[in-house]
Amino acid sequence: MSDQPAPHETPSATPSASPSPSPVHRSEGHTGGPPRRSEGHGGGGGQRREGGPGGPGGPGGGPGGPRRGGKRQYFRKKKVCRFCVEHVDFIDYKRVEMLQPFVQERGKILPRRMTGTCSRHQRWLGEAIKRARNIALLPFATEL
């Protein structure tokens, strides 16, 4: 999801950008660029890669520049770990209704990037789901 909008936005914004912000972009490209440029060069490729790190790095604060330049019109809602919010220290495998939202229809465990769970809780969650599966509380795969 994050890759798609960034390349689209960068080419449209770079030509339209006023002369003053563009040096800012280039300097950022130099600082962040060197290892990336060794992979391949070319104006188009360079711009794309500039946009790539700018997208995820945007919330960090440093690359606030690209946002000022008119990119990033929308804000993705930041996902928060549901277990961290509720201060869960132990994920009980017996509470199926709690595990259910983190399992796909077919029984797969949902990845972190979908649910926003932090790595620690995802680890516990995976363990709990696997335990629940073993005792037939959750399916390994839905039968057809």
């Binding site: 604060g61 606030g64 946002r67 000022r68 201060h87 220290d89 132990f90 495998y93 017996k94 029984g107 335990r131 599966r133 073993n134 005792i135 037939a136 509380l137 959750l138 399916p139 390994f140 039968e143």
Partner: protein, 146 residues
């Protein structure tokens, strides 16, 4: 070997065939209790969850009678014995024992840690919380200035 092992907490779940009469489930539970006490263990609680739908077919059954127990023991042999008994009995179609004491310990530790942090929160949250809202506030004036 027996004496120097710490007390461990286990979760024991077993599933009986849905057609099992109540008496037989009780019999299994009592035999488990008996062998637990023989090995110097303790059954903290026994819960009958009743007949539940299984997530997948087990021994050609789509439903099963769930029994949940919490066992405390200082001997690993006890679990072996309990599992052997469950394996032998015909009514039981599935069982699972999970050692939980380490996770419970971790839970307590984290809870204590949080309490300790909460007690001195007024100082710690003040610098911790504002940074999140501040950056957008700083950025917005910056764009306005330009």
């Amino acid at each position: 070997m027996e004496a120097n092992m710490e007390e461990r907490v286990y979760d024991l779940i077993f599933i009986c065939r849905p057609a099992t009469p109540e008496d037989e489930v009780n019999k299994i539970v009592t035999t488990l209790e008996h062998s637990t006490s023989e090995h110097g263990g303790k059954i903290e609680k026994t819960e009958r969850w009743g007949t539940r739908r299984l997530a997948y077919r087990v021994a050609k059954h789509r439903e099963g009678f769930f029994v949940y127990m919490v066992v405390k023991s200082t001997q690993g042999d006890l679990i072996k014995e309990l599992e052997r008994r469950l394996k032998v009995s015909d009514a039981v179609i599935k069982y699972q024992t999970i050692r939980l004491d380490e996770e419970l310990k971790r839970q307590q530790k984290l809870g204590k840690h949080r309490e300790r942090r909460a007690s001195r929160r007024p100082r710690k949250q003040a610098p911790g919380a504002p940074p999140a809202p501040q950056p957008p506030q700083q950025q917005v004036p910056a764009t306005a200035a330009e």
